[in-house]
C-alpha cells in the first residue's frame, strides 16, 4: 500500500470507526497522531537529491479519459502534507469537550483532514479538485451546529460562495483539459507539465482567468474574500484552524501546481490584474482589519490580508518569490491555526472576544498570553518565525520582478507597509486583551489547560524551527523550481 494512500485513508478509517461507535476523541487523535508520525517520516525520507515526484502509486479510474487516481509527492506537497497533519493533530487535540453528537464533530473534522491530505498528495488535477471539495459539507455542518455568533449566515455564505467558486474552478479545469489536443487529454500533472515544457501545449489565457478566480476565491483573494472572515469568526475552533490553516492553502497550491507551469504567458499577461488584487488584499484588507473590534474577526481578516503576501510572491514569478510564497504558506498555516486555537481558548473562558470588554488577561492567564504573544508576533512577521523569512523572500522576489514595471514597485512599497499595518492590528489586539487593567469579572479566569497548551506548542515549535532555519522548508520546496 502506498504510504500516501495510507495517509488519506487513516482519517477516513477513523471516522468510519467513530460512526460504528468507537470513542470519538480518542480514535480521532490516535489517527491524527499516526498520520503526523507518518508524514514526518515521509518528509524525512523524501530524497532531496533525486527530487521530483516520489512515493508514486496509481489506480486507473477512467483511463481513456485520462483520469487516474495517482498519488505522489514532491517537496512542496510534502511540506503541505506536513502542515496538514500538524494542524490536524493540533485541531483535534485542542477541541473542547463536546456535549452533543461528539461523533459527528470528529467525523467532520477528520473528513476535512482527509480531504486536504488527499488534495496535497494527488497528481491528478481532477482528484486534486475533488479532495478539496470533501471539506464543503463537514464545514457546513461544523459551523452550523457548533459555531458561535451569527453562525448560520456565515455557514451559508461560505458554503454557497465556495461551492460556486469551486464550480468555476471545475469549469476552468475542464477547459484546460479540453484545450489539450484530443487523444492526449489527461489530468495527470506530470504529463501536463511535460506537454507544457515541450511546447506542444498552449492553453488559452482565459482559462487562466477562470482558474485564478476559482483558486483565488478559495484563498480569499480580494475582492472574492468576503466569505472568509465571518466563516472563521463563527466556526468552531478546530474547524477554523483547519480551514484557515490548511484548506485555504489549497488554492495557492493549485495556482503553483497548475497555473505556474502551464500558463507562463497568461500569467504575464494578467499579472497586473493579480497585482492590483493583491494590493487590495494587503492594503485594503489590512485597514479593514485595523477597524475590527473583535479578536475573531481580526484574525479572520488578517488571514485574508496575509494571503496578499503569498500572492505577491507568486506574482513576482521569480524563484525567490515563489519559494517565499511556499514558505509563507507553511508558516501562515501554522501561525493562523495557533492564533485561532488561542482565540477559541479565550472565547471559552470569557464568552466574548470584544476588545471593549476584555483587558488585562495577561495577569490571570500568563501562559495563554505568552502563547498568544508568540502567535501574534509570528503573524506580525517577526524574525524567528518562518513568516518573516517568507515575507523577506517574497519582497526580494518582487523586487527582482519590479524592473518590469512601476506597478510592482507600488506593490512592494504597499507590501512592506502592510507589515506595519499588521503590527498595528495585532498589537492592538494583544494590548486590548492581555494588557491594561483587568476587569473585576475576569479576575477568576483559569490559565490555559495543558492539552490546549501543548497543541499550540505543537504548532509553534515547527514554526520557529522553520523560522530559525527556513532552509529545511526551502530545500523541499525548491525541488519544484529550477535553481
Amino acid at each position: 500500500m502506498s504510504p500516501l494512500l495510507l495517509l488519506i485513508l487513516l482519517p477516513l478509517a477513523a471516522s468510519l470507526l467513530i460512526m460504528i461507535g468507537a470513542n470519538p476523541r480518542r480514535t480521532a487523535i490516535v489517527a491524527a497522531l499516526l498520520n503526523l508520525v507518518l508524514s514526518v517520516l515521509l518528509f524525512a525520507r523524501y530524497d532531496l537529491h533525486a527530487g521530483g515526484w516520489q512515493f508514486l502509486s496509481e489506480w486507473h479510474v477512467l483511463p481513456n479519459l485520462g483520469i487516474n487516481l495517482s498519488l505522489g509527492a514532491d517537496g512542496l506537497s510534502m511540506t503541505m502534507l506536513l502542515l496538514s497533519t500538524l494542524v490536524t493533530l493540533s485541531a483535534l487535540w485542542v477541541a473542547p469537550k463536546i456535549e452533543k453528537r461528539e461523533g459527528l464533530y470528529y467525523v467532520c473534522l477528520l473528513f476535512i483532514s482527509a480531504g486536504v491530505i488527499g488534495a496535497f498528495s494527488t497528481l491528478d488535477v481532477l482528484f486534486l479538485y475533488s479532495f478539496h471539495e470533501l471539506a464543503l459539507i463537514p464545514t457546513f455542518i461544523l459551523i452550523g451546529v457548533w459555531g458561535s455568533g451569527d453562525r448560520q449566515a456565515a455557514a451559508w455564505k461560505a458554503t454557497i460562495y465556495l461551492g460556486g467558486a469551486s464550480f468555476v474552478l471545475l469549469i476552468g479545469i475542464i477547459s484546460l483539459y479540453l484545450s489539450l489536443p484530443s487523444g492526449m487529454r489527461t489530468f495527470d500533472l506530470r504529463q501536463l507539465d511535460h506537454l507544457a515544457l515541450s511546447g506542444t501545449f498552449h492553453p488559452a489565457s482565459w482559462i487562466y482567468l477562470l482558474l485564478l478566480v476559482g483558486f483565488g476565491t478559495l484563498v480569499s483573494l480580494f475582492p472574492f474574500h468576503s466569505w472568509a472572515p465571518p466563516a472563521y469568526a463563527c466556526a468552531p475552533t478546530p474547524a477554523a484552524m483547519l480551514h484557515s490553516g490548511v484548506l485555504k492553502k489549497f488554492g495557492l497550491y493549485g495556482l503553483i501546481r497548475i497555473c505556474l507551469p502551464l500558463f507562463p504567458e497568461a500569467i504575464q499577461q494578467f499579472n497586473a490584474l493579480l497585482v492590483l488584487m493583491l494590493i487590495g488584499n494587503i492594503l485594503y484588507i489590512g485597514y479593514v482589519t485595523v477597524a475590527q473590534k473583535r479578536l475573531d474577526w481580526t484574525i479572520g481578516y488578517s488571514s485574508v490580508m496575509h494571503m496578499g503576501y503569498i500572492f505577491l510572491g507568486l506574482a513576482s514569478l521569480t524563484v525567490m518569490g515563489i519559494n517565499g510564497a511556499a514558505l509563507l504558506m507553511f508558516a501562515h498555516g501554522l501561525s493562523v491555526a495557533a492564533a485561532f486555537a488561542l482565540c477559541g481558548e479565550i472565547r471559552r473562558r470569557t464568552g466574548t472576544l470584544d476588545y471593549s470588554e476584555l483587558g488585562g488577561l495577561g495577569k490571570v492567564t500568563p501562559v495563554l498570553g505568552l502563547l498568544f504573544g508568540f502567535a501574534a508576533m509570528a503573524s506580525v512577521g517577526l524574525p524567528g518565525f518562518a513568516n518573516f523569512a517568507g515575507e523577506i523572500l517574497v519582497f526580494f522576489g518582487a523586487t527582482v520582478s519590479s524592473i518590469y514595471g512601476p506597478l510592482m514597485v507600488v506593490a512592494i512599497i504597499i507590501g512592506v507597509w502592510g507589515v506595519v499595518v499588521s503590527a498595528i492590528y495585532m498589537l492592538r489586539a494583544y494590548r486590548h486583551i492581555f494588557w491594561g487593567p483587568i476587569a473585576q469579572r475576569w479576575e477568576s479566569l483559569t490559565d490555559i489547560a495543558p492539552t490546549a497548551k501543548w497543541s499550540v506548542i505543537l504548532l509553534l515549535v515547527p514554526l520557529m524551527i522553520a523560522g530559525f532555519y527556513p532552509q529545511i522548508i526551502l530545500n523541499m520546496v525548491g525541488t519544484i523550481l529550477p535553481r
Binding site: 459527528l104 448560520q152 458554503t159 460556486g164 477547459s175
Partner: protein, 480 residues
C-alpha cells in the same frame, strides 16, 4: 436472446401477479412487491445475456432496435422499477389511509402491479425506433401513470395531481400525434432510422412542414422530460402523487422521454438544415430549464415539491448534454448522468417516504433534527443531497463533470455560465435539507423505525452513489 422477450417477460410478470392478487387471498400484499422485484431482478440478470435485436427483415425490426442506448436504459428502467416496487410495502400505511378499502390491504396489490406495465411501456419506448411504436408505448406508460398518480382517491392532492397530469398529458399527446402526422405526411415514413434518408429525397419546399412536425414532437418530448415551458405539471404532480409514483415519474418516465429525444436528434443530426435548428432550440430549452428549475427551487419548503423542481433542474443539465450531442462523449455522459440521477433521486425519495410517514408531513421542516433521531436516514439523505448538488466522490459529481465537459467541448459557453449560477443555487436548496437535518433541533426525539427492506434499499442506493462517484468506469464502458 431476443430483446423483445424482455418486455414480454415484464408484461407476463405483471399478468401473473394480477392473477395471484386475484386468486390468493392474503391481506398482506407485500409478497407481490417482493415477487415482482425478484422477477424483475431475474429479467435484469437475463438482460446481461447476449442480446439480439429483432432479426433484420422481420416486422418487429421496423419498430424495435437493440443498441447500446436501449440495452442500457432497459436495465436502467428495470433497476428503477425494482426500487419502486420495494418502496411500496413501506407505503402501505398511506394507501390504507386514502383508499376507500373494505378490508385491509385492498388496492395495495394493483398499486404494486401497475408499475410493471409502466415499466414494459417504457422499455418498449427506449427500444422503439418508430413513432407509432413510441406513441403506443408512451401511452401505455402515461395512461397507467395517470392512474397511479390519482391512486390516493381520498387525498385531494393526489386527485388534483392526477387531474392536472391527465389534462396536460393528453394535451401533449395531442401535439405528439399531430407532430407525427406532419412528419409522416411530408416524409411518408414514421421510422426514425429511415427518416434522414427520406428527408434527403424531399424537395426544398417540404422543409417548413417538416420543421413544424418536428417542433410539435419536441413539444411533446419537452413535456415528458419537464423542460421549460412545458414543465408546469412537474412540481404539482410530483407533490401530489404518491411518493413511489413520484420517484418513478421523476426517474423512469423522464429517462424514456430523453431516450426518444436522443434517438430523434441522433437521426436528424445527419440532416444539415434540421440539425442546426434543433441544436439551437435544445440549447435554448436547456438554458431556460436550468434557470427555471434551479432558481424556482430556491424558495421551496415542501420536500417533494423541491425534488420536483430539482427534477426540472436536472432535466436542464441533461438537455445541456443533449445540446452537445456533436461530441462522442455526449451519450455516455447523459447515460451516466441518468445512472447517477437514478441512485440519488431514488435514495432521497426512499428517505423522504420513511420520514414523511414517521413525521406526518413532507415539508423540509419535518426533517429537523433528523440526524439525532436517525443518523442512518440523515446520513443517507445527506449523501443524496450532496450527490444532487454535485459534490465530488458522489455520482452526481461525475455526471455533472461529464456533462459540462461535453458542453464545453461543444462550445456552449453561455450554458456553462448559466450552469455555474445554477449549481451555486443548487448548493443552496439542497443544503437547506442538510441544514434541517443537522442544524435544527427535532421537535421529538424518538428514533424513527426503519424496516429491513428500506435499510437494504438505502444501503444499495448509497453504495451506488459512492461507487459511481469513485469508479464510474464500468457504467461508462457500458455506454460506449
Amino acid at each position: 436472446m431476443n430483446t423483445t422477450s424482455l418486455e414480454f417477460a415484464v408484461v407476463g410478470l405483471g399478468i401473473l401477479l394480477l392473477l395471484a392478487e386475484a386468486f390468493i387471498d392474503r391481506t398482506n400484499k407485500d409478497y407481490l412487491a417482493y415477487l415482482g422485484a425478484a422477477g424483475l431482478a431475474i429479467i435484469l440478470v437475463l438482460s446481461f445475456l447476449p442480446l439480439q435485436g429483432p432479426a433484420t427483415g422481420s416486422p418487429d425490426s421496423a419498430f424495435l432496435t437493440s443498441d447500446i442506448l436501449s440495452v442500457f436504459f432497459t436495465r436502467f428502467l428495470l433497476v428503477s422499477t425494482i426500487v419502486v416496487l420495494l418502496m411500496t410495502p413501506g407505503y402501505k400505511p398511506v394507501l390504507a389511509r386514502y383508499l376507500p378499502a373494505e378490508k385491509e390491504g385492498a388496492g395495495v396489490g394493483e398499486f404494486t402491479i401497475l408499475p410493471l406495465f409502466v415499466c414494459a411501456g417504457l422499455m418498449w419506448m427506449v427500444s422503439a425506433i418508430d413513432f407509432i411504436m413510441i406513441f403506443v408505448a408512451l401511452e401505455l406508460a402515461t395512461i397507467t401513470l395517470y392512474v397511479l398518480s390519482t391512486y390516493l382517491r381520498q387525498n385531494m392532492a393526489s386527485l388534483e395531481a392526477g387531474t392536472k397530469f391527465l389534462i396536460l398529458g393528453a394535451l401533449s399527446t395531442g401535439f405528439f400525434v399531430y407532430g407525427i402526422t406532419w412528419i409522416f405526411g411530408v416524409t411518408g415514413t414514421t421510422n426514425i432510422v429511415s427518416l434522414p434518408q427520406s428527408i434527403s429525397l424531399l424537395p426544398e419546399s417540404s422543409t417548413l412542414p417538416l420543421l413544424f412536425g418536428v417542433a410539435l414532437i419536441l413539444v411533446a418530448l419537452s413535456f415528458k422530460i419537464g423542460a421549460f415551458p412545458f414543465q408546469f405539471w412537474v412540481p404539482d404532480v410530483y407533490q401530489g402523487a404518491p411518493t413511489p409514483v413520484t420517484a418513478y415519474l421523476s426517474v423512469a418516465s423522464k429517462a424514456a422521454g430523453f431516450v426518444v429525444l436522443l434517438r430523434l436528434l441522433v437521426a436528424l443530426e445527419t440532416v444539415p438544415v434540421l440539425a442546426h435548428k434543433l441544436y439551437a432550440v435544445v440549447t435554448l430549452l436547456a438554458g431556460v430549464t436550468l434557470i427555471f428549475g434551479n432558481l424556482a427551487a430556491i424558495p421551496q419548503t415542501n420536500m417533494k415539491r423541491l425534488l420536483g423542481y430539482s427534477s426540472v433542474a436536472h432535466a436542464g443539465y441533461l438537455l445541456m448534454g443533449v445540446a452537445s450531442l456533436g461530441s462522442l462523449m455526449a451519450i455516455p455522459a447523459i447515460g451516466l448522468y441518468f445512472a447517477a440521477y437514478l441512485v440519488m433521486t431514488l435514495l432521497s425519495f426512499v428517505v423522504l417516504m420513511v420520514v414523511a410517514e414517521a413525521t406526518g408531513g413532507e415539508e423540509i421542516s419535518r426533517f429537523n433534527g433528523l440526524s439525532q433521531r436517525s443518523p442512518l436516514l440523515a446520513g443517507a439523505m445527506l449523501l443524496a443531497m450532496a450527490s444532487l448538488a454535485g459534490i465530488p466522490f458522489t455520482a452526481g459529481f461525475v455526471g455533472k463533470f461529464l456533462i459540462f465537459e461535453v458542453a464545453l467541448k461543444q462550445g456552449h459557453f453561455g450554458l456553462v455560465a448559466i450552469g455555474c449560477i445554477t449549481v451555486a443555487a443548487g448548493f443552496y436548496y439542497y443544503f437547506k435539507v442538510a441544514r434541517a437535518m443537522y442544524w435544527q433541533q427535532a421537535t421529538e426525539e424518538t428514533p424513527i423505525p426503519v424496516s429491513m427492506t428500506i435499510k437494504l434499499l438505502i444501503a444499495l442506493l448509497g453504495a451506488g452513489i459512492l461507487a459511481l462517484g469513485i469508479y464510474p468506469g464500468p457504467v461508462l464502458a457500458a455506454l460506449r
